[in-house]
Amino acid sequence: MAGTDRHGEKVTEPTRTDGRNPELASGGLGPSFPTPLRAAPKVEAEEVPGRYGKDVLVLLVRDPYWLHAFWEITPERLSEAEASLSTTGGERPVWVLRVYDVSGDKYDGKNANLYFDIHLDDIARNWYLRVDADRRYCAEIGLLGPSGEFVAIARSNTVRTPRSSMSDVIDEKWADIRRGSRYYEEMYALSGGFELGKSSLELRDLMEQRLRSELASGAVSSFGGSPVRKRKARGFWFVLDAELIVYGATEPDAKVEVQGQAVRLRPDGTFTLRFALPDGTQTIDAVASSADGKEKRTIIPIVNRRTEVPAPVVVDDGGA
């Protein structure tokens, strides 16, 4: 497939470097400066289907006490269902999600233990349902006529909610007859059974959020606010620091030392150094030596920085 991939007539993106030639794609390994600012390539909007044209009802388990249901009903199937309802009295049928508790081994599709109805509004496409732990459920979505007649349009998969506590079943083979059930309670506590579900509130979440969050691609997500969000959240603030730029020029083949350390000259013999400038005095002795070793010139700037920080002024607006 090499070489042919970008020639399809429907590809609207600008030509890009082939991923199979990484050296080219990376723009070379020039160590000094970033790739020049260039417009991000236009990416076609990749949307998802609004509907799939199938009659489905699906249950997902969120936790021991909540299910999630989503569905799609085709207009054809809806018309059928409406037609099959007796419409005497002119009242409109209502959408209902009928949830069956089908716990137990021998559910045959008809003998549910019990069910409850949720009345939906017309525009809902999904719903969260309150249920119980360690039970099996399935559901139907359909129309409930004014006379109480229910016409199911789609039936869901069957799900089972997880347990939310220790099982009552004790395996004889592994029972500890000396200590009885108190032993299990102690093991439960020692294993951290009373702190369940806390894990993720803590460092792990912070860490994952950090790892997956801090870097947003401006090209994609229009992330572009102040980078120093963390501080901003704490109200007014002010920081200031100083750096000193020392620059000069000499013969391109000369040797220059600043404070005893060699300085790299540009091809035209100029150089620039940049230093963080703390409070205090800096004696910046700079020495240039000619290439033939016959001449030396010295320049010594002496720089003093002193920083004063007067107390902040806060206008008292009367405590409003």
């Binding site: 990484p22 794609a25 990376s26 400066f33 020049p36 990749e46 949307e47 894990s199 790892l211 992330f223």
Partner: protein
Amino acid sequence: MTERGYLCLLLHAHLPYVRHPEYDEFLEEDWLFEAITETYIPLVHVFEKLHADGVPFRITMTLSPTLLAMLSDPLLQSRYIRHIEKLILLAEREIERTRWQPVFHRLALMYHWRFTRSRNTFIDRYGRNLVAAFRRFEELGHLETITCGATHGFLPLMAPAQSAIRGQIRVASREHERQLGRPARGIWLPECGYDEGIERFLRDEGIRYFLVDTHGILHATPRPRYGVYAPIVCPDTEVAAFGRDVESSKQVWSAEEGYPGEFWYRDFYRDVGFDLDFEYIRPFIHHLGIRKHTGIKYYRITGKTDHKEPYDPEVALERAAEHAGNFMFNRQKQVEYLEGLMGRPPLIVAPYDAELFGHWWFEGPEFLEFLFRKLAFDQKDIIPITPSEYLERFPTHQVAQPSGSSWGWKGYAEVWLNGSNDWVYPHLYHAANRMVELARAHGNGAPDIVRRALNQAARELLLAQASDWAFIMKTGTVVEYAVRRTKSHIHRFQRLADAIRDNRIDPGYLADIESKDNLFPEIDYRVYA
């Protein structure tokens, strides 16, 4: 046998597949680059040092298939080199800039040394592919690598389309064997998301064990005799489930009590990418001028204050050693007590996200190094072990059915299923079912281009299923990116599926997305048949 218990330290290394050849530079690719510099390479260095000194350490490590795919991808490898070269240049400039500030100057030297060493390890020692490093330590017997879902899909929410679960596991299992040279014996279920029955898919791939969060074991039926301190075996399948120990987790994870909050440890947030003059730092941040973390950080946590003191690596290292000693001491006490209660040596399973060590907790890799040295030379109560070794040593286990669970907030699926992200599941459901239909309609002998389109459709389905997208939507961080990724993979899947159905596959389009979403080169769509 003199030991009183076992410690299984597990590092879960995973990043979502982020690779954008269509851009010159893409910020989210930095997730990988930061993790390489700050976590994976420092861990490899720790392994090397421990091995050189004859320390018998054992670490179990998830290498998620998407991470393996990125680590072995030539484009990302060369972009990593570009990234580390830039960091080295920045460190060089920092060495000069901080000349009059000795406390920062020596840190600039430290970073320069770390970055050049990273470059050396990455390029010269492991030929740009860190998978080779992990493979080496597995062959040396120190590391047990395990797999994960192919793209870290949250399996319990795939329950209505069971083939989707099989796809995640089978593709992962094959990819692991292809990359590591041996089949994975265990699996880290993505987010520890477990639902009854998943073990059947594991058994079919020859996977012998998985990990669940604490309550997955504690709420098993029947009651687990040893709590989380021994694995249980699922009925009928003989696949073992190991549970996470809360106490050892908390010592490391807890934002309040955990070791990483130590005031002498390096602060994560203060970074020269945010602190320094814009014109100076501009070549090292995003090319549109967006400031970002560079990795050069000069301060320590200091306390709950905005005023941060400069970082002191020597003191921080001492603290890491103390914390390792404290961690070991607490495990000894725990093991001693549990052994008395249980009547057999307990197994303590302590899993962590690998990226915690080094990336978030800068001194984390050194903590691990100290811990394994101390375990080897300062005590005899606890033996470091991997799950496979444990199963070899203790062949008999209680049979019990683990309970549905995850290690996310509240312990179940809510992080990945709530108002912010529930819109994705209808799309994933329909795509998974359609994948099965397509795979069944095209058995052996499909024409080459159809086979390629089907394989690419399978990749798109898997990429759309990554739990990372739902997680990001929930946590509200780079939501637009996560939404875009979900939509584009669903879109590409459906477009390919339509083309296959209509027998009108556009070779240009197919080749284009093959080159973009290029992971799992040997995927076989028939896993969905």
